[in-house]
């Protein structure tokens, strides 16, 4: 489940390549400009058959594959933290005094390898070159599954995998010459749903490397392969 929400976070970046739904006019976008960085507070909602959670957090992103997200309690303390840098994933749980670090591929299957596989799929999938502004295209995804992409006005509205996963992009707005979605809805093949909403994002600002640094002070560092289900 956690992997799915991670995927939802990552999916925000694709949203930067997206547009549609009677959203901002194309003229509001600067040709060739894309989202290089995002810094934003977010609201994350997870709904599954046995678990519901809504929380506020802060996320930073730098193209192509750097993400850090901190999930906060109502009084500002850290519930959990995630950092993704390429294939390297770090998860911290300060309350438990533990952190996990390793390659995504090292994740034990029992914790849901599939979610992270999707994450890479999301991060690595730029809008296909030569795709029409409107309509649907199909292509083979990185994981080998068939991928169907719905486009409108040159933006991706929806992505589907033949294995059952779906990502939808909503609430597009023009920001700093880029049209981007402020809301993403993800459905897993098992029926779990994750919603990620951006609140007042700053895009394409300079993000110092320190903003992506996760403090492991006082935490017991374990290999990612020992991650337990949370």
């Amino acid at each position: 489940m956690f992997r799915l929400f991670l995927l939802a976070v990552a999916s925000v970046f694709l949203m930067s390549c997206v547009k549609g739904q009677g959203l901002p006019d194309r003229s509001l976008a600067v040709p060739g400009r894309v989202v290089e960085t995002i810094s934003s507070t977010v609201i994350l909602s997870l709904n599954t058959t046995d678990r519901n959670f809504t929380g506020r957090g802060v996320m930073v992103y730098r193209r192509p594959d750097q993400i850090r997200l901190v999930l906060l309690s109502p009084f500002g303390t850290t519930l959990m933290e995630m950092k993704l840098n390429g294939e390297q994933l770090t998860l911290t749980y300060p309350a438990d005094g533990v952190a996990y670090q390793g390659r995504i591929a090292d994740l034990p299957a029992s914790t849901g390898q599939r979610g992270f596989t999707m994450l890479r799929w999301v991060l690595d999938s730029d809008p296909p070159s030569g795709a029409p502004d409107n309509g649907e295209i199909e292509q083979k995804a990185r994981n080998g599954a068939l991928e169907r992409i719905v486009l409108e006005d040159g933006l991706v509205l929806e992505k589907n995998l033949s294995t059952g996963e779906r990502v939808r992009y909503r609430d597009y707005k023009a920001l700093s010459g880029v049209r981007m979605a402020f809301e993403i809805l993800m459905d897993s093949a098992e029926g779990d749903r994750i919603k990620l909403t951006l609140e007042e994002p700053d895009i394409n600002t300079t993000l110092e490397e320190s903003l992506f640094n996760v403090s492991l002070a006082g935490l017991h560092l374990l290999p990612l392969s020992r991650l337990i289900s949370r």
Binding site: V70, S73, T77, P94, T197, G218
Partner: protein, 247 residues
Amino acid sequence: MNIITDYTHSAKGLCLFFYRLADKVISAVCHARIVRFESGKIRNCSIARCFYLLLVALALAIPVDARSLTPVEGLETLRRSFDGIQDFSAEITQEKQLSIMKKKMVMQGEVRFRKPDLFFMDIAPPYSSKVLLKDTVLQQRLGAGAELQRIALPPEQGLSRWFASIYKPVKTVPDGMTVRASQAGGLTTVMIRPVKGGQLRELIIVMQEDGAINRLSIEERNGDKTVITFRKIRKNIGLTDADFRLE
């Protein structure tokens, strides 16, 4: 005058109120976990624990005599501050300085409390959220138009049970923490630090001379810091059920 006392107690078997109080405070930060459900019931909810932290701070809104405090006196002051309170409300400003953000996240809002088991917090846009805790039932709505989330807490985390345990005076400082108290410039400051590691590095409560809380600061070991400033504190104003509704 500036008097600072430093005291670390190692006695065991403390069953006093503040032990429980402090446990709640520390737990709120040190044992926070993501909300988890198991068959419709929550297994662990750190968010709820944080309410206790805020309640501790709000308790200090009740006027007390400013004076030099030993750690035990400081802790006992916290406990006594709940006496005579039936309800209260306060406006708050919450400032979060996080390592992940270049700028502070500033939130404005209001909190309300009514004995024995009601707590409400309303944060204004742009980070709008409403949270209502009624004993063991936590409800929250994050963002405009968001769905209402309902969480059932374990009975031992209920507000009513917690308040039922505050009648014994504090005589010793609980294990595992260092308490420092100081008075300067008309302000009384109580600092609590866990002796060992954990998520919390330091909790600071600053009171005015009349005992009204001025500020609550929570610093985590990762360097992140939250400061809550209180103002317009009103007590025993007859809050009704209508003041504790999530619209």
